[in-house]
């Protein structure tokens, strides 16, 4: 992969956001962090990303609402939802809103990488 894939991380927990950013960087991706729903929405709309890593529980607008809004606007960017709730209802809501993958905390780093690679396969920056 010659061009860096771009990822947006929307996560309110500073430690997890930092972990994700370091992990994705280590995996050769370019990661941007937004720490709440509205900042995430603004970032998502401001530039193209290859993948969005989106926490469900966010202050203000939650991750699923944010996703639904973007999908309603016709945005097809692949999304990985993160949640600490191992709850089928949350998963159903996420899938209905248009998430491609669903990771339950505490997820394995390699599981996250697997998801990222699968979802960004063949994509390059700006394509």
């Amino acid at each position: 992969m010659t061009t860096e894939r771009r990822a947006l991380i929307v996560e309110d927990d500073g430690e997890i956001a930092d972990l994700l950013k370091r992990g994705l960087t280590l995996h050769g991706m370019d990661a941007t962090v937004a720490s709440d729903g509205s900042a995430g929405l603004a970032a998502w709309m401001s530039e193209p990303f290859d993948v969005i890593v989106l926490d469900v529980m966010l202050p203000g607008m939650d991750g699923i609402e944010l996703l639904a809004e973007r999908r309603a606007a016709g945005d097809r960017t692949p999304v990985i939802l993160l949640t600490a709730h191992d709850d089928d209802r949350v998963r159903e809501r996420g899938v209905a809103a248009g998430a491609q993958a669903f990771l339950i905390k505490p997820f394995a780093y390699f599981e996250l990488l697997g998801c990222l690679d699968e979802l960004t396969m063949g994509t390059t920056k700006g394509s």
Binding site: L19, A84, K105
Partner: protein, 473 residues
């Protein structure tokens, strides 16, 4: 304990009412039987006196009047042949009536005040034996002796008749008396039945009430049980959620550590793991504390402490806590007297509230910590100039895991357990914790704790009298 005894009351009430109901039913049975017997006796006696005695006396009178009629036939016609036989037959009828009366009296009629049958029979015999010879010796040419005997006989018959009449009257009187007794027994029975019905209605009412109370109690218990189990499920779900976040950080960092080759980067990762593990153990401790304070009450290590010293200590620690923040702390401690508290728990509660206030204060602002004595105990207030708490969230901020919408970042506000722990601590001491709007913006959290002894007036007149100001001053 009081809950348990309150729950037992409806059961006890139920048992008592069922017992009372059984006793009442038995009483009704006994009363019913006895009333029935009384009425039966009275009616039987009445029938004996009325129908039998009065009837017999009547029959006797009629027989006597008949006899007189046939006696007269002997006088106005000739006392011969068939006429004498008819008269004698009537005489025998009178005797038969007397026999019948005797038999009746022998069955148990009270003979007091009644002419005796012997008396009646003697009179009848005297009449017959006096008149019969005159009939036998009848001489149509000289009727003098016959008519004299006849007059004597008629006088005797009159006496006999008046005795029969007296018997008749007595029978009637006794019957009237008996009917009055029947009436009395019946109305007594009615009253007793009315009382019994009223009693049964009351017992039934009490039973119904007890049943209602039992239903209510069991419903309340079921609801309480459901609430408890729902709260427990919610707590477990929330707790696991709270633990998943630090676990994610731990696991992620550890996994990164495995792939990172740079030694310095790896050390950084290990430091993060240690810090996160410490944070996680704090969350675990908080969860354990709340679970324990749920199961029993808060485990308190009570000691009698000086209020002033305790609050000065707490203020000192609060200052240290605030030092790392971009806010300042202003303290105003004006307390004396003694408290019976677990000093560590009180300090924990106050520090949680101070920490909370610092988290919400914009940089450069002051958090105020004050303590004073009011009539109803020790009042500790912590005020900030933060965004304030919306009215509808004010009660909920003390619930576990509750985070308001206008929260600073997750990490800064912790697991949402702080105020729940503060409340458990304060309430464990029999105190209260409340939040209210602060005039001019921000929030005031108020902790009230009961005071063991107020400072004595004689200690130091100046501070002692000033130490117990009226509430609100």
């Amino acid at each position: 304990m009081t809950d348990a005894s309150r729950q037992e009351v409806p059961w006890r009430l139920g048992v008592i009412t069922v017992g009372a109901l059984l006793i009442a039913v038995a009483a009704v049975g006994v009363v019913g039987i006895s009333i029935n017997r009384t009425v039966q006796n009275v009616v039987e006696r009445a029938i004996a006196f009325d129908v039998e005695l009065e009837d017999n006396a009547d029959d006797l009178r009629i027989a006597i009047l008949d006899l007189r009629h046939f006696h007269r036939n002997l006088i106005f016609g000739e006392p011969l042949g068939a006429r004498v036989e008819a008269w004698e037959e009537r005489y025998r009828a009178v005797l038969a009536e007397i026999d019948e009366l005797e038999a009746l009296i022998a069955t148990g009629v009270d003979p007091v005040g009644l002419p005796t049958t012997d008396e009646l029979r003697a009179l009848a015999d005297a009449y017959y034996l006096g008149f019969k010879p005159a009939v036998d010796a009848y001489d149509p040419d000289d009727r003098t002796a016959f008519e004299m005997a006849s007059d004597t006989g008629l006088a005797q018959l009159n006496t006999l008749e008046s005795l029969a009449e007296a018997l008749d009257k007595e029978g009637e009187a006794r019957a009237t008396e008996a009917f009055r007794a029947i009436d009395d027994a019946a109305s007594t029975g009615n009253w007793i039945l009315v009382v019994v019905i009223a009693g049964l209605t009351m017992v039934g009412g009490a039973l119904g009430f007890a049943v209602l109370r039992m239903i209510q109690t069991s419903r309340r218990l079921v609801t309480a049980q459901q609430n408890v189990s729902r709260a427990k499920t919610d707590f477990i779900a929330e707790a696991s959620h709270e633990l998943r976040t630090p676990l994610t950080v731990l696991r992620g960092n550890a996994e990164l550590g495995l792939v990172v080759e740079d030694e310095r980067e790896r050390t950084k990762i290990l430091r993060k793991i240690v810090a996160e593990a410490q944070r996680m153990s704090r969350v675990v401790n908080d969860l354990l504390f709340l679970t324990r304070s749920d199961a029993t009450s808060v485990p308190l290590d009570l000691d009698t402490v000086d209020a002033g010293e305790l609050l000065e200590d707490v203020a000192g620690r609060a200052e240290m806590l605030i030092r790392e923040r971009p806010v300042t702390l202003a303290t105003a401690i004006d307390v004396a007297g003694t408290l019976r508290v677990d000093a560590t728990r009180v300090e924990q509660a106050v520090l949680i509230v101070v920490d909370n206030a610092a988290n919400y204060s914009p940089p450069g602002q002051t958090v105020e910590l004050s303590a004073r004595l009011a009539k109803d105990g020790l009042v500790i207030e912590v005020s900030d100039r933060g965004p304030g708490i919306p009215e509808q969230e004010r009660a909920r901020i003390f619930e576990r895991f509750f985070r308001g919408d206008g929260q600073p970042s997750h990490r800064a506000s912790g697991a949402g357990l702080g105020l729940a722990i503060a409340r458990a601590n304060v309430e464990g001491h029999g105190g209260t914790i409340t939040a209210e709007d602060r005039p001019g913006g921000g929030t005031t959290m108020r902790i009230r704790l009961p005071v063991l002894t107020f400072p004595r007036e004689t200690d130091d007149a100046g501070t002692a009298s000033a130490a117990i100001p009226d509430e609100g001053s």
